[in-house]
Symmetry: C2
Subunit: 352 residues, 2 copies
DNA sequence: CTGAAAGCGCTTACAG
DNA sequence: CTGAAAGCGCTTACAG
């Protein structure tokens, strides 16, 4: 009597009249199979609608996968990057039993060279997959292309540089997030009066992503024929004194500023300034779920925060590598996160 | 030479001087181990910080798990429940390779008896885990208690009835979601004038969750000393004609309604009425990401929609059962979803 | 109460 | 180019 209730690879082997070793070779596209048998096996697989058993595969395989991540380190000053890291850790805990380890590299977001150094280290270490926050455009692009040459999939999070060499981008549509910021501003700032856009960063020239948000913000006011005049200032030092000095000047020059839009998480500094200078009546919209900012949101100094689920970005970034490398299923080349609105009344429930 | 690089169960067996069968018995808390050896094995497990290999476990075990879900069916009229179902399907596709199947039961949310009938069917069928939308309070509670007696974990989604017999609740904090609705209303409705709350449902007496939202909404206006007078109307028929007739009456009685808050997804009916009756100037805030509502959001008839990630609720609901039954890790007894704000400018990116 | 063996569906050397 | 065997870390009968 033939055993006829075989499953998987064994059943294919029986039907094709070959050994399971051969079936394994064609499934995994390894060399050493005659075109004929390969064709035959493939046909039978298709016929059976064969789905490999991931459990068995991971259990049997002693191949370990190594992922690297390269994101900004977080400081006392701003702990934005804590959240993506938390997501990465969560993903790691879920897939480590599948033989995956993650090595973490950090760079200083105010120092381009630290990015370059770390990325070179990574390239030397033979990773199977890489996750980066491509803050510096040229350097990130170069790195991504190197990965591509080495056939190492590279996932971008938080801001995108559309190009062929990355596997996937997971993060906001920056233009639209700025656009939404403007709509929110419109709810809280009077229609007459000026609106001030503030970019705060030591590396503004490299901070393409801030400019995308600014573009979106401006576009809203133009498209909706708002009467507000939109002006802007760039602040290239991130400490409070610099912010304060700059804003004091701007407010002295422009008497009728009704709203301020800060294009990144530094909005808490602006809030501090408004509070200290007694300008809480100015509407304030900014980015990200930092504890410092939440305090001002509670008090009403900040009206809205736009958030993009940073933790989920980290989590999904790792899972995308996992899908690509382990599960072998196709991944979306661009995955936009929802654009979340945080107010005084819903911040408690936000899953950061 | 002793092989000293054993792992898992085999290594424990070696150290305890027993067979792996015995180790397996204590790991899985099966009978037939003397107290002494059990204690010994347990100590060694602790010493080694033993973590069972889930892959191997699922692969070796031929035990199949059966989950049941019991949620409202969706109709042309409202497809809200499509989203949780989609999440459930997604979860199923991820865990079916672990030997889990899901059987789907639906009830008519306008018919308490259909809920009772379906829940009785489920109790007869010997499931390992159950997910329900406990729309009808008493009946759901009774069902949940029956599950508890049978030792079947039961997860609630979408609305909660806090009690000991459920394993977990995954969904909104309804009170706060109403509270947030009021804050949003406050952005768009003038401070002078009346605000109208509308509950639309054929089963209003059972719809405890609508009332929780109403409570939250009212609380905001009270806590913030708003001058608006808040009034309400219950509409017990869900078709457009009923809604239209009722609202015509209300608007005739109250001339100065500046804003309307609809406590569920039926907000699109109200939007249709406002549009047809030329009352688009009235601010409108409601719930859920239905296509019909999104159309009115785009046009500006609806100002804000409050959403609670219904798809994610379904997904997480199933995964919670999986965690509890397969991974054997503790689950949160209450998991509040974020309270999301949807506007014209961010709906495109919402992951429903 | 305990142990030895077979097997889950794959991968990985190794032999031919 | 192909096959047979061992093994991944567990569970499941079965035997004693």
């Amino acid at each position: 009597m033939k055993k006829n209730n075989l499953t998987g690879i064994r059943e294919i082997a029986r039907l094709a009249n070959v050994s399971i070793g051969t079936v394994d070779r064609v499934i995994n596209n390894r060399i050493g199979v005659s075109p004929e048998t390969k064709k035959n096996v493939l046909a039978i697989m298709k016929d059976l609608d064969y789905q490999p058993n991931i459990l068995a595969r991971r259990l049997a395989s002693k191949k370990l996968l190594k992922f690297a991540i390269l994101i900004p380190s977080f400081s006392q000053e701003t702990d934005f990057w804590k959240a993506p890291l938390k997501g990465i850790d969560l993903a790691e805990s879920e897939i480590k039993q599948y033989g995956i380890t993650i090595e973490k590299y950090f760079f200083d977001q105010n120092d381009k060279n630290s990015f370059i150094k770390q990325s070179e280290k990574i390239l030397k270490s033979n990773f199977d997959g890489i996750l980066i926050a491509p803050i510096f455009v040229d350097e990130s692009l170069k790195f991504s292309k190197s990965c591509n040459l080495l056939q190492i999939p590279c996932v971008f999070i938080n801001s995108d540089i559309p190009n062929e060499s990355r596997l996937s981008y997971i993060g906001p549509d920056l233009f639209h997030s700025g656009y939404l910021g403007a709509q929110l501003m419109n709810y809280v700032a009077e229609e007459a009066g000026k609106i001030l856009i503030i970019n705060i960063s030591k590396e503004i020239n490299n901070y393409h992503h801030l400019l995308r948000k600014e573009d979106g913000f401006r576009a809203y006011f133009e498209n909706n024929n708002k009467r507000n005049q939109v002006i802007k200032t760039d602040i290239t030092q991130t400490d409070f004194n610099a912010v304060s000095a700059d804003l004091t000047k701007v407010l002295a020059t422009h008497g009728d500023i009704k709203g301020i839009f800060v294009t990144n998480s530094r909005v808490f500094s602006v809030a501090e300034f408004l509070e200290k200078s007694g300008n809480e009546n100015i509407a304030l919209v900014g980015y990200d779920f930092l504890n410092a900012s939440i305090e001002y949101l509670k008090k009403g100094t900040i009206d809205f925060l736009v958030c993009q689920q940073p933790q989920e970005q980290g989590y999904k970034g790792i899972m995308t590598l996992y899908q690509n490398l382990v599960l072998n299923i196709p991944v979306e080349s661009t995955y936009f996160m929802p654009i979340d609105i945080i107010t005084k009344e819903n911040y408690l429930f936000y899953r950061n």
